[in-house]
């Protein structure tokens, strides 16, 4: 209906300054929403990326989802068996070669085996309990983010063979050891062996920097007296989002507990959902306020244009026409505000992307970080959509009033 549109635009144009204020109101709302959504989304993406980066995407351990049934439970059809002495299971992932071969056949990504055992590092009279992790250096480098966190040496230093160990820098500090120092590692089974420190890493997570030591898989197997055993298979997938499916399939295939990173961090991810809800609430509130600006101007226009409404009705315009007219005015303001808001939001994001933080903490090399910003067309569409809806509502209420206006009242009032 081009005539109605022409009328609507004329009304809006007739109120230059107020129109501008309403449009700027919407534009600010849309712009800030976009910038905020971009920041929040960027923060979330960044957080998840770090999470995904540092963790294996799927972690298969030598555990089961539910306790194993004891042979007695299968042998007797009893309701309850008391005083059962459980059968000792052989720990670790049985037949690792076959398990790995099976996984390799279909898993879209890389995998690494390891044997994790507890032990004590002893040096110059100091004992520190650590987790001793036996790895295959080449595979580990493809799966673990640790490879990037080395201060001195690297996983490759382990490849050469021999009794070498890589530890966190905090651990070395506590022991008073340094690169090249030979420390004694005592395992929980009582095996004791001398290892030379060939690498120091710093992840920033104290628990790891202080409590982990990496040795060759074979050395770990010797220390824990479990030849050929492994108790963990970690997968790094090409697509982290496929982790739950891969975990399900791996678990069904191997019988061991396979945990996707999403499952391992369920509470964190839930917190992100709540954060998103909060964000959209705030964004919605901003746009609602902008909507009031539109409501205000359309309301004013309908009051001022009461005479025009009467004239148009006497000329043969219907109530529907009048409703459409003012609804259209609201939507036009919303649309103009959205367009301006897109530009403003884009500019705001661009400026935010220039902000740099220089973080420096103890023991941390100076890091330069930019604000994490996510660019998504959806932010723009959602903000504009919401602005249009609130503009529509803001225009509709006065529009309904205008449509109901009795022309006779106005004409009488004027004469």
């Amino acid at each position: 209906m081009r005539l109605i549109l022409a009328l609507a635009l004329t009304h809006i144009r007739g109120r230059g300054r107020q129109t501008l204020v309403a449009i700027i109101g919407v534009a600010l709302g849309v712009g800030f929403s976009i910038a905020m959504a971009s920041l929040m989304q960027g923060g979330e993406d960044d957080f998840v990326a770090r999470l995904v980066d540092t963790m294996p995407h799927v972690d298969i351990t030598d555990e089961y989802r539910s306790a194993r049934r004891q042979p007695a439970q299968d042998a007797f059809a009893a309701v309850q068996i008391a005083g059962l002495r459980p059968k000792d299971d052989r720990r670790g992932i049985l037949n690792p070669t076959e398990a790995v071969a099976m996984l390799r056949a279909w898993v879209p990504g890389r995998l690494a085996l390891s044997l994790k055992t507890q032990g004590v590092v002893r040096y110059s009279g100091r004992d520190v309990g650590i987790a001793i992790i036996g790895i295959e250096p080449q595979a580990e480098m493809q799966v673990s983010s640790l490879a990037k966190d080395f201060r001195q040496g690297s996983f490759t230093s382990l490849i050469a063979g021999g009794n070498n160990i890589v530890v966190g820098d905090k651990l070395a500090q506590r022991l008073g050891a340094d690169l090249g120092t030979t420390v004694t590692v005592v395992s929980s089974t009582g095996q004791s062996c001398a290892f030379k420190i060939v690498g120091l890493f710093h992840t920033g997570t104290t628990a790891r920097d202080e409590g982990e030591g990496y040795v060759l898989l074979k050395n770990a197997q010797i220390l824990s007296e479990r030849p050929n055993a492994i108790n963990e298979i970690r997968l790094k997938l090409d697509d982290p989002n496929a982790a739950p499916q891969v975990a399900r399939r791996a678990e069904a295939q191997l019988g061991y507990k396979a945990m996707a990173w999403q499952e391992a961090n369920e509470s964190l991810l839930e917190a992100l959902v709540i954060r998103n809800v909060i964000m959209y609430t705030v964004v919605g509130a901003i746009l609602l306020v902008a909507g009031f600006g539109i409501f205000n101007i359309i309301s004013t226009i309908t009051h001022e244009k009461a005479r025009d409404i009467a004239i148009l009705k006497s000329l043969g315009f219907t109530q529907t026409d009048m409703r459409r007219l003012f609804l259209l005015e609201g939507l036009a303001l919303g649309a103009a505000g959205s367009l301006l808001g897109w530009a403003f939001g884009f500019l705001l994001c661009f400026m935010l992307s220039l902000v740099r933080f220089e973080l420096s903490g103890a023991n941390v090399a100076q890091e330069i970080t930019r604000l994490p910003l996510a660019w998504s067309i959806w932010h723009y569409l959602i903000a504009a959509g919401f602005a249009l809806v609130s503009a529509g509502v803001a225009g509709y209420l006065p529009a309904r009033q205008a449509a109901r206006l009795n022309p006779v009242d106005i004409i009488r009032g004027a004469t």
């Binding site: 007739g14 009705k313 006497s314 000329l315 315009f317 529907t320 026409d321 022309p407 004409i411 004469t415």
Partner: protein
Amino acid sequence: MSALIETKALTRVLPAAVPVTLVQDVSLAIGAGEFVAITGPSGSGKSSLLYLLGLLDAPSGGSLMIEGRDTAGFSDRERASIRLATLGFVFQFHFLLPEFTVRENVEIPMRRLGRLSAAAMRERSTELLSALGLADHLDKRPDQLSGGQRQRVAVARSLANDPPLILADEPTGSLDSRNSEQVFAILDALVRERGKTVIAVTHDTGMAAKASRRIHLVDGRLAES
């Protein structure tokens, strides 16, 4: 022939704590080609009757037939479409849309009806305005015109969709005598030359005297006819 507009016991009561009767039991029939003047003292319900006839207001009782169709129970859309194509209004004040040019004001009803092409609308608005001596003012805004000129634009607008019936509410009420005569002459010419029907509410006794028929209202009732 059947009347163009016909009422039977048309009544309009304003609902209030003490109901106000504006128009009571008005029955009349007006045929094509008549120039009817509705006269009466202030508050006698002249304008109210005109608004009822023009479907701007809904009667509380009685019936109203326009071109043989009973308007009772018409939807807003049907009433609007009659106002658009069958009726033309001229009010005491010109009631032009101030943001639009003279030509645009005249074209608005045509555009709403949508029967003519843009070029045909342009031609028709030029023709109508020129016939009323406004050929030089087509692209001016209403506030650049004199009172008499504006009222002539309003007449041109009422003729936009070539309706058979023109309803005028004190069309000369806000004009000086020279302009009044001019507007009256235009309305009179519409009846004589183009066979339109004009129903005009007026205070102007001179104008009423020249009408082909007078309806006198007192307290909302027909006094003589």
